[in-house]
Structures are given as structure tokens and as C-alpha cells.
Amino acid sequence: MSNHSCIEIANEWGIVSARQAGRELSKEIGFGSVDQARITTAISELARNIYLYTEIGKIDLEEISDNHKNGKVRGIKVVASDKGPGIENLRDVMIDGFTTSGGLGAGLPGVKRLMDEFDIESIPGEGTTITTIKWLR
């Protein structure tokens, strides 16, 4: 797959770049306006978490496809990775309203609901990688 981009998140401008790239790619893949908004919002949440809780990280965006029984399905894969402090208790951060920064605590549980697939891997002291996918229906 050649449709791939990587946005470094080192400051708050990275958040804007990441969601613009996400908006473009999801439009290109053929997502409708509601799913474009969902994907863009999810990317914004992940990028902001990198900006808030780590020194630096990146967002990788990629067009993917999979063979379903009804033929080929296209989708977008969003991977947010950083070498920050990691997350001690993965269960806590997935609870609506849990925040360590005075935010709404809506970010991660929200991303999980906005996207179709959600996977989080985090090692305290080493970093966090969050992988999410939205399929085009």
C-alpha cells in the first residue's frame, strides 16, 4: 500500500497537521462526511494525548484493505505511537471521565467508540502504541 503518511507530533501544530492529513486520506478512501468527522476526531484525540503526556510521538495513517466474504473492503489504519511515560493502568484510562489532566476524560473511550477496531499497548517507562482501524462500509 503506497497511501501512507506519518506526522510527527512535537507541538500543538502537529495536532492540526495530523487531523488535516486524516481528513484528506479518509475522503480519498471514500468515507462519507460522518465517518470523516469520526476519523478526524479520533486522530485529534490521539495526537493531543501525545502532545499533552509525552515529549514527542507520531501518527501513522495508512490505507488498508482486507478480504471479507463480500469482497475487498477498504479502510484506514491510524497508529499513534510515542516513547513517553506509558500508561500504568490500561483499564482506568478506558473509563469515561478518567483524566489526569483536568480534561473531560473522553479521549480514549471516545476513540474506541468512533473507530471499528482499537488496540492499546503500553509499557510504563517505555511508551504507548495505539492502533485503530475504521472500515469503509
Binding site: 495536532i15 481528513r23 460522518v34 468527522a37 485529534s44 493531543r48 467508540r113
Partner: protein
């Protein structure tokens, strides 16, 4: 980038036409509160027709703006929230429940006039 704030009698009108990055959103919060204070405004309409994404940070800024304005005696009505944005906010579990909304700027103004009695 600064979001322009228009004055219409005792009301303020804002149409958000730019990409809402964090800095712009926070600057707007400050500008609006200053303007309400300066002008003694009673009502504010914020039109979001051109906003194609509201994440939890921007939702929090908007919610805070509404609360702060009301502390200062100004009622805020949000207008023009796109369907995709409304759906995304619900998915996110973010509710702007206490916030008054209307379909467009015109209806937002009408809403204020009704509530504030002219």
C-alpha cells in the same frame, strides 16, 4: 489567528470560519469574555456552520465559554452544528446538555430575543 467578534446592539455575533487549533480556541475564549465585559453584552450567538470537527478539547473550551459567559451575565446560543459533528459528539460521549442551540444565526438571535425579552 483571531476569530472576529461582531457587536449587534447588546448582542455579540461570532461565526467561526477558521480551523480551531488549541491556541485559536483559547484566544477566542479570552477575547469573548473581554468583549462581554467591555460591551455589557446580554447575549452571544456562536455560529459553528464551518466547523467540521469538535474533539474533546474544543468541546471543553466551548462548554467553559458558555459557563463563563453566563457567570458574566451573558446567555450563549450555539448555532449551525453540522450533523456529522453532532453525531461524533454523541459517539464521544460528550454532551453539551446545558447549552442552548439553534439551527442558524437568525434563529439563534430570535432565541436570545425571546429569552431576554427583546
Amino acid at each position: 489567528m483571531r476569530i472576529p467578534i461582531l457587536k449587534l446592539g447588546r448582542y455579540l455575533l461570532i461565526s467561526v470560519q477558521v480551523e480551531l487549533d488549541d491556541q485559536t480556541a483559547l484566544q477566542f475564549q479570552e477575547d469573548l469574555l473581554n468583549k462581554i465585559h467591555q460591551e455589557g453584552s446580554l447575549g452571544v450567538v456562536i455560529d459553528l456552520t464551518s466547523v467540521d470537527m469538535i474533539d474533546s478539547f474544543i468541546a471543553k473550551v466551548i462548554g467553559d465559554v458558555v459557563e463563563m459567559s453566563s457567570l458574566m451575565g451573558a446567555k450563549v446560543v450555539l448555532t449551525g452544528i453540522q450533523p456529522a459533528v453532532a453525531i461524533t459528539l454523541i459517539d464521544m460521549g460528550v454532551s453539551l446538555q446545558e447549552v442552548q442551540t439553534a439551527l442558524d444565526l437568525e434563529q439563534g438571535l430570535e432565541r436570545l430575543q425571546q429569552e431576554l425579552g427583546g
